[in-house]
Symmetry: D3
């Protein structure tokens, strides 16, 4: 394969790069602004004792999970300033759910984001999940150093020309 044809190949695959392989925020001005939604998820795994301490800290009126939810929502609004090639998009909805999971043990996090924009909001949803997880970690890091943030992934995505996506997980 000649070097030139390889470049073309790369470009068609990684839209964030131009033919020289250089970073760019790709032109989406020809795309139509439509309603698009993305839902992402992730989990925070910890020791049973840490899990119980957080649940206790969240007992009536405790702020523990609220802090994580709010951090996730605020981070979604910062996405284009954190991820270099993300387009700034209006966000019409951001919601973050955090559910205790005694099996893990730990917490399941899920974020849902809606825009009426020219491109999708996967990164906004994934960023909300990531920062909510980091915030939960921050709350509990005095108790345990081995906490782990796992499986940050896209669950579903709808709207836009490329079609809908639903992850195959059960």
């Amino acid at each position: 394969m000649t070097q030139n044809s390889e470049k073309t190949l790369v470009q068609s695959q990684l839209t964030h790069l131009n033919v020289e392989g250089e970073a760019r925020m790709v032109d989406i001005s020809a795309k139509v602004a439509t309603k698009r939604q993305a839902i992402a998820a992730g989990q925070v795994r910890m020791l049973q004792t840490t899990f119980e301490a957080i649940l206790a800290g969240n007992a009536p009126k405790g702020d523990v999970l609220a802090i994580s939810r709010i951090a996730g929502i605020m981070a979604a609004k910062q996405t284009s300033q954190l991820i270099p090639l993300c387009h700034p998009l209006p966000l019409q909805k951001v919601e973050v759910h955090i559910t205790p999971d005694p099996e893990l043990p730990g917490f399941q996090i899920r974020a849902s984001v809606i825009t009426k924009g020219e491109t999708g909001v996967e990164m906004e949803a994934l960023t909300a999940v990531s920062v909510a997880a980091l915030t939960l970690y921050d709350m509990a890091k005095g108790l345990e150093k081995s906490i782990e943030i796992e499986s940050i992934r896209l669950l579903r995505k709808s709207g836009g020309k490329s079609g809908d996506y639903i992850s195959s997980e059960k």
Copy 2:
């Protein structure tokens, strides 16, 4: 257990909460500013074809991994604005390494942060890893929707009164 004694317990466990269970940025003014380091890691798993496209995009002069490294470094500096109860700290070093891992397949990310401050920089290192991973995801999301960010965790931590920590992973 009376409600009062439980509150005291919670407080001693989750320092980010006061005795009422309310969020606070805890007082560290009595602590001494000393050199502290944290190293965190994580990985991004993807399909073999996606992995190869990124490596190709990173071929001589391609910006792919540079974008992720830089996003991670810049995010470390934003940590206290993303994580609600993190103290703003001076950062004397931030370094992010991204290594292709054909076994995964995907990429291993590692961040190392140093401060001369009154508290540790675990969150800064973990935030750098998370945002570097999200940026790599963003580069490749046009190719694959099932990419997953995994195992964001603390590898080691030194400095400060609470002693050093080295994760038990081999």
Copy 3:
């Protein structure tokens, strides 16, 4: 009243909470983007001597009031990053007026904001007033510790389906 019916009630009243009482940035994607305006006001009360020093500092070419005006305008653009559940909105106009009020003595601040968005800009106008007031306070705090920021409120609001509002003050 059963707990369930109470939840429904709360939800209908505080749209920033879901039925579980959890924070969310509520979905406005079904609303139409139309021109909306909000005007807010507030005042900064100080001693007569402080008031005169600021007026003197603002004498020909002094930057005193300009600094406050500009801080208010810039803060309006930051509103969605300061107020956790505010939607990021395009702003088509921000204007801040600061008027000396010898009766107070002190300064009257008024901010006017226009968007073409799916929700109103009350918070942007109120944030502009608040930060302009804080900036005026900052200028004068070396002279007096008893300065007070008072009466930050919405004066009027137009556009949107919920109808116009004009405060009843004379």
Copy 4:
């Protein structure tokens, strides 16, 4: 009084201006970094029905007051980016308390901030109060347009060469 002597007077009074009356972030490099604390307060007045709706929304596990507390804490960390001539300072503690006040009716807000820096943290405490108040307003603005933020002021201040300050209010 000649124009020149007036300039000198202004300068000695408003340290944020140079002799030309121009804005500057004044040089504090000769000052010593010591522990300094500031406590500020403010209140949000609303109708009885609004007050009760917020209290209901904050019923077991509701996030209402947590959102305001966290917004206030995060805003304290943004102070030097909101107030043009504020020095960026390390913050060793930020705490925000919000108390229902049935007499008002409404909420009392109090913020306490500590730095080990070359200048005080009055503006950080006042900014935390202001943004916590704005966030409370934002939560309730769907219920009432006549909410008012009142009496944002410094309660006390300690540390630094200029001596301590305790407001004269009872």
Copy 5:
């Protein structure tokens, strides 16, 4: 000329000022959102030895120019937070090119920005060029103190009612 007629003149010339000469973010709500593009340029001049060191640092896989490109792209997204009276605009494309210029010696920087908004993106393109130049400077400042950023200017602009502009340079 009377003072009043002068004020009117100023206003018609500097739209960022009201009739009182006070700063404002001018009302563009009556304008139509259309596609608008701006291209800006600038250059960084340095010693021959510095120039060669940067080229060597950018040798296969070096991040030097990538860092500048990315900094420029990210800065374009921050424009309305840096330039006080700039309207926040959606950006549909940002691209930054950096070309070694052995004649200078140094680097030529060019940024191209597209919006679908009510006003142009000259400032976004100029900000991208400026910050890319500053970043290049930062990389090389350990080698040379006499680096100079030169000739930041608008090359062309299209879209909007005021007509297209093409700079007269050859």
Copy 6:
């Protein structure tokens, strides 16, 4: 020259790159925090008619130059968030001067920054000058499209182990 020895050379020259040529925020934790100052300058050249309009707009109480000064001061505080590999530093002083220069015609901008930190503040001073210049451009761009920002450079630098620097310009 072998590839390995070249790498070592690059590293010693561009401290922002590691031996692999990868971006990093270099470790300065071994350096001592001392007082350091930097002064930078630049100019904005425009047509005579534009120059006169700005001077008129700045006539008694006009905000024109104040806006630029304040934008420059605020930008200095944002430097480490704009320039990817800059260390976040405390800033003890930022001052921006803007002087009309009828010879140019246009404006001379000069920024002076002081830190008590482990590394210098050249980038903070240069960023202040750049953003002050961009803001002046923004004020006048409605009048003229051919404005040019020129000659952004370091005038002097003192403090730190590398010795003082004074530019050779007369």
